[in-house]
Symmetry: C2
Subunit: 344 residues, 2 copies
Amino acid sequence: MPKATIDDVAKLAGLSIKTVSRVVNREPNVREQTREKVEKAIARLNYRPNKAAQNLASHHSHLIVLIYDDPSAYEIPSAGFIIRMQEGALRACRMANYELLIHPCRYRGKNVVAELNAMIEQVRPDGIVLAAPLSNVRRVVQTIEATGTPLVRVSPGKTNGNPLYVATNDREISSEMTRYLASLGHRRIAFIKGHPGHKAVGSRYQGYLDGLEQSGLEVCDELIAKGDNSVRSGEAAALELLKRRDLPTAIFAANDDMAAGVMRVADRLGIKVPDQLSVAGCDDIALAQQIYPTLTTINQPLSQMAEAAVLMLIESQRKKKKPDSPTVVPGTLKVRESTAARED
Amino acid sequence: MPKATIDDVAKLAGLSIKTVSRVVNREPNVREQTREKVEKAIARLNYRPNKAAQNLASHHSHLIVLIYDDPSAYEIPSAGFIIRMQEGALRACRMANYELLIHPCRYRGKNVVAELNAMIEQVRPDGIVLAAPLSNVRRVVQTIEATGTPLVRVSPGKTNGNPLYVATNDREISSEMTRYLASLGHRRIAFIKGHPGHKAVGSRYQGYLDGLEQSGLEVCDELIAKGDNSVRSGEAAALELLKRRDLPTAIFAANDDMAAGVMRVADRLGIKVPDQLSVAGCDDIALAQQIYPTLTTINQPLSQMAEAAVLMLIESQRKKKKPDSPTVVPGTLKVRESTAARED
DNA sequence: GTGAAAGCGCTAACAC
DNA sequence: GTGTTAGCGCTTTCAC
């Protein structure tokens, strides 16, 4: 059967195509009775509006593009992050009857700009969601903005006053984790900083400091180690921290990979987690539930952030106005097995 | 600046829009000289064809949909699989100037059929790539086929004589792994079968049997254990195998998760891998490179399979004929640290 | 080799 | 509330 068109529906319903269009697009000014007639005809013909025609006529593509850093084949941890963002973005798209296009992008490399421009001009998406860390890459942000395509950034470092972004409460939730550790009786709570270039990770350190203060604990330089977000650097940092005469009883790492490194080292040194040492991470990557003991960590609401970003885009298009305030999706503590009350 | 249209280009080049269209679509019957004129105009105006208009007029959406099993939030191992498939599909799409839409799909659940139909009729993709295990779900396959959309299945179990699929050489490569282990001097090579419902896993067992035979080794029922693809089942199987009076010196598991389970048990029992026991897996998931010692395994060419699938779709559309033979993308042995020559 | 005209199936702007 | 009329920017068909 050849696909039914809007004309077929109009004819069958004995109405004009405009009225059918109104019903299809849920526009106002249609009598209930008329609407029903149209809907019956639509059902009978199994009619679906032709997207290409809609797009052409309406100057909207009903497409949202999700752009993220291209994980070159084997970059392991990113897979989970990406899938979760996609999941959220897809959820929002489905609700609003948009489609999601994914566009991994290698931002190192000379022709990012040309490639992005080509994609945008071909696809003409109604909006773009730019995930961290790309949301912090100037060249990428500017290229997209230059096309005039509505852009929402996820977890941008500096906001430049632009409210079109969604973020999480890294600092606050990290302070909460610190307070949680303190509430377990820990007094010597160490922190492993992450890669200095990574902004969220800086906020986490701030949160750690806040948390100490709020718990009435003093900052102790000896308890602060530097990492670079890798498992290996977590191991190195742990080795250093666990050599102190006055051992920490809890270690809070700025990400899960480093926390995993800590657990590995503790195991090698015969230090029992969580009995002798509590370990906490951040991100809630898949590994957090796979290792033993399972890792207490902070859930990054990636899926909800992506969802919120897409919704911002779609909402602002509907209302034809830009959102005037950023969205903050709070993270949550995931208390698992790697943390326990301090032993005496 | 308002976007340039094909008319603008035609006007600037002093030619008809049809000629411009010919150049844009690389059609024949254009004088070299004319082509150059057009290309110059295109460059000057920075013209890009409007996809929506192209789609509407040509009845092609230039969209490929990749459908896979929806990994509900935290289903860990699938993330890597999905990302790799996406990667391959995207590569092919980019080359051919198509866009990729992703569509995770929960095939359990009453309204899969309706949902799939809605998506297909709305989007009207030019082709669909259906990834395993969905490529084996009758209801899903039939629903898609009923819409008339060209479909290529990835790793389908039974082929039903339909050549529109791409697969890998599970059986052959598994026999290669077995021969490799034999070549290291192993004589007692155990095998852990995977989930019985999973077809690839059955082929792997066949390959194991082939490999034994080709190496002049006898099949020994005592050396064959059953798992269900989970880490836990790998542990159980290993425990059983390693209790035999006559220990195996190598264990080949039908997937990496089970192999990881074997390594965990070996560690607990104080059996050194690979010195006292060689362990091999299958799939080359991220974990294979994260555990210690790193796991010898078989790389599943997911990315290349997805790429091949998309190319089949696009090719057959161009030539307006269905491909008449399936594509087989061979897997490859990844020899890492978990296997070594048998100790005496 | 090149071009003119007729749509593709819808939405927008406005009339009624 | 509902209908009419123009396009949207291309591809297709067919004439030249």
